[in-house]
Symmetry: C2
Subunit: 405 residues, 2 copies
Amino acid sequence: MAVGPETVSQVIHPVAGVRIGIAEAGIRKKNRRDLVVFELAPGSTVAATFTKNQFCAAPVRVAKEHLAAGAPRLWLVNTGCANAGTGEPGLADARESCAALAKIVGVQAREVLPFSTGVIGERLPMDRLVAGLPAAVANLRADAWLDAAHGIMTTDTRPKLSSLQVEIGGKPVTITGISKGAGMICPNMATMLSYVCTDAVVARDDLQAWLAASVDQSFNRITIDGDTSTNDACVLAATGAAGVIIPARGPAADAFRAALDTVMRELAQAIVRDGEGATKFVTVDVVGGRDTQECLAVAYTIAHSPLVKTALFASDPNWGRILACVGRAGLPDLDVAQVDIWLGDVCIVKDGGVSPAYTEARGAAVMQQEEITIRVELARGGARDRVYTTDLSFDYVKINAEYRT
Amino acid sequence: MAVGPETVSQVIHPVAGVRIGIAEAGIRKKNRRDLVVFELAPGSTVAATFTKNQFCAAPVRVAKEHLAAGAPRLWLVNTGCANAGTGEPGLADARESCAALAKIVGVQAREVLPFSTGVIGERLPMDRLVAGLPAAVANLRADAWLDAAHGIMTTDTRPKLSSLQVEIGGKPVTITGISKGAGMICPNMATMLSYVCTDAVVARDDLQAWLAASVDQSFNRITIDGDTSTNDACVLAATGAAGVIIPARGPAADAFRAALDTVMRELAQAIVRDGEGATKFVTVDVVGGRDTQECLAVAYTIAHSPLVKTALFASDPNWGRILACVGRAGLPDLDVAQVDIWLGDVCIVKDGGVSPAYTEARGAAVMQQEEITIRVELARGGARDRVYTTDLSFDYVKINAEYRT
C-alpha cells in the first residue's frame, strides 16, 4: 500500500557532474539491486546531515570522518544490512569497503562516503559487497537516477525521486534527489537515506547551512512510527557543472533555496506516502502556539498516537482521541476552553467542546479521504508548525512482525 | 487475548464498611452491567489520584471538587460514555448524576464522587443513567466485588481484582481493589479506573500520601499504547471498620503500605495483561542509570516503540530495534560501548555490540515465552526503574479500528 501518485516529478533531470552505477551484489537476497555508487565531478562541494541516534551505525561514523577529512568524490550505498550495532569489526568493514571502491576508481579511501541500510546487528558480507563493486563502477552513467532510487529500497514499495530545473541568472540549474525509507522513520537530523545533487556552484559552508535548514522543514517533520533510525543520512552535492554561482545571499540564493526546499519536501513526503502499511497521508497542522516547540509537541503527540492512527486507518472521526492528545502533550497552563480542532474543512471541536455545527456524517466524509489534514488551533500565540504522518494498519503490523523472516 | 492467569487473587475478601450495587442502565448497550455504586460507612477516609491530561473529563473535575469539599460516602461509576470533551453541559450532567444518587440515599450531592469511562465527546444519556440508580442502590451488598469488576469493564476481556488480608497488631486488615482499562493506557497519576478499599483506620493525609507513592510504582509504571486517558482515576477508601489504627509511621504503617503496594501492583499488571490485543506481558528493566528519570526515558522509549512491540508479537529476537531505542532515548553523552542488553537470561548486547555468546536460537527461545523481561544495563550510575507493557498485534489494530462501530 502507498498513498497518492507514485511519481512526484514527471521528469527526472540528470545532474551534470554526477554519474551513478548500480549492481546486484546479493548482500541479503539474490537478483536484487542492492549496491549503488555515486561519482561526483572533481571540485564538487558536499554537505550532509546524520542521525542523532547515539547508537549510530558504523558507516555513519566513517562518513562523518571522511567528510571532515576532505572533498568526497564517491558515495557507496548498500541495502540489506545496516552495519549498525556491530562494534569495532563493523567500523573496519565500513573502512574496508571505502578502500576497495577507492582502489578501483583510483582515489583515496577518505574520498568515499559509505552508507548502509537494512537489518541492524549483522555484519556486512564483505566478500559479496566487494565483489559487486566492479560491476557498479562499470555501469556509471548520468541517467541512472530511477535505477538508483530502486537500488536503495528496503521495505519501500516504490522509488522516491524529486527533480526540479529553475532559471537562476538566466541559466538553468538542476536539483535532483532520491530518498528511501518506510519504517523506523522519525528522523532527527535527516532520514535514512536521501541523496540530492545540483549542478550549481555552491560554497561548502552555504551548502551545509542550507541543507540543515531544509532538512529541518522536510525530513525532520515526518514520522511514521516514532522510531529514529541508527543510519539516517541526507547528503547534498553541488558539482558546479552548470557554471551558475550561487552566492551566500541575494535573489539567486533565495531562488536556489526555494527549489532545494521543494525537492527536499517532496522527497520527505514521498517517504510518508510509502510508510509501512500506509493507507492515509496525514498533515498535522498546529497553529496559535506560544513557540514552535509547543506546536511540535502537540503535532507529534497526535502523529505518534496509536489510537489516532488506528482511527485514521478505520476512517473513523473519533476526534476524542485527538483531543486527548492535545491534553497530554505537556503544554504549561493550557486553557482547553480556547482549543479548536479541525478535520479538513470541518470544525469538530470549538472552544474545547464539540462544535455545535459538527455532525458525525461531516467528520466521516473527511476521514474517508486518502489525504487528511488535522488542524489544532491553540489560540495562545503566533507560532505554527506541521508534521506529516501515516495511519496504523494491519499491514504495518504484518510488515514489522514478518520482517527478517 | 490476554496474558497470564485471570484471577490474581484466589479469594476476594469483602471489606467491612463497603457495599456495592450494580445495575444495567443501558448507557451504551443493552443487557450489560454498566452502573456501579460504592457505599462507604460514615467516617471513612478517602484518597484519590486523577489524570494529568489537561482535557480531563467532567466527572474528574467534579470528583476533585467534591473530594475537596468533604468526606465522600458514595462513588458512582458508569461505563459506555466518558463524559469528556463535553464542556459545560457535561459538567452539569456530572453534577446532576451525583445529586440524583444523593437524593435516593439521603446524603448531600458533594458526598458523591462521579466516574465515567467509554467514548470521548458524547453526552451522558442522563435519563437512562438516573433511571438505573434505584436498582443499583437496591442491590447494595458487601460481596459484590467480582460483579463490580465486571461492571466497570469496557474493552477489557476480563475482570481485574486483587485482595489481601494481613495481620497488623494481631488483628486482620483487608485490602481489596478492582481496576479496568485495556486501551488509552499510559497513566500519568493513576489509571482509568481503580477502586481500592480497606477496613483499617487511616488518617486522610496518610492515605493520600501512601496512595500517591503506591500509584507511582504501579499504575504510573504501565503503558499499553502511550495514550494518557482523559478520565484516569484511582480511589482508595479506609472505612475503619476493622478497628485497626494505622499510625503515620512504624511497623504497622510499613506492613499496611507493603500490602497496599502489592494490591496496587497486581491491579496495574492485570491491566497490562489484558492490554488490547496483548499476547505478551513485558517487563522493561533499566539499571545503572544516573537517575530514575533517565532509566524511565529508556524504558518508555522501548515500551512505546511500535517496532519493538511488533517484534515481540512476532516472537522475533530483533534486538537491533531495542538498541536503536536506547540510542534515541535522549541520554546526554551516553557511552554506547558500555551498554549491555538482556532478553530474559540471555545476554544479547555486550559492550554495545552483539554478545559473543549470543545465538539467534537462544534469543528466539526467550521471545517465544508469554512473559518476557528486557533488561538494559547502562553502567553509568546506581539508579534503576522498570515499566510494564505489551506487544502490538493485529488485534490491537482491529480493536481500535472497530471500536465505536
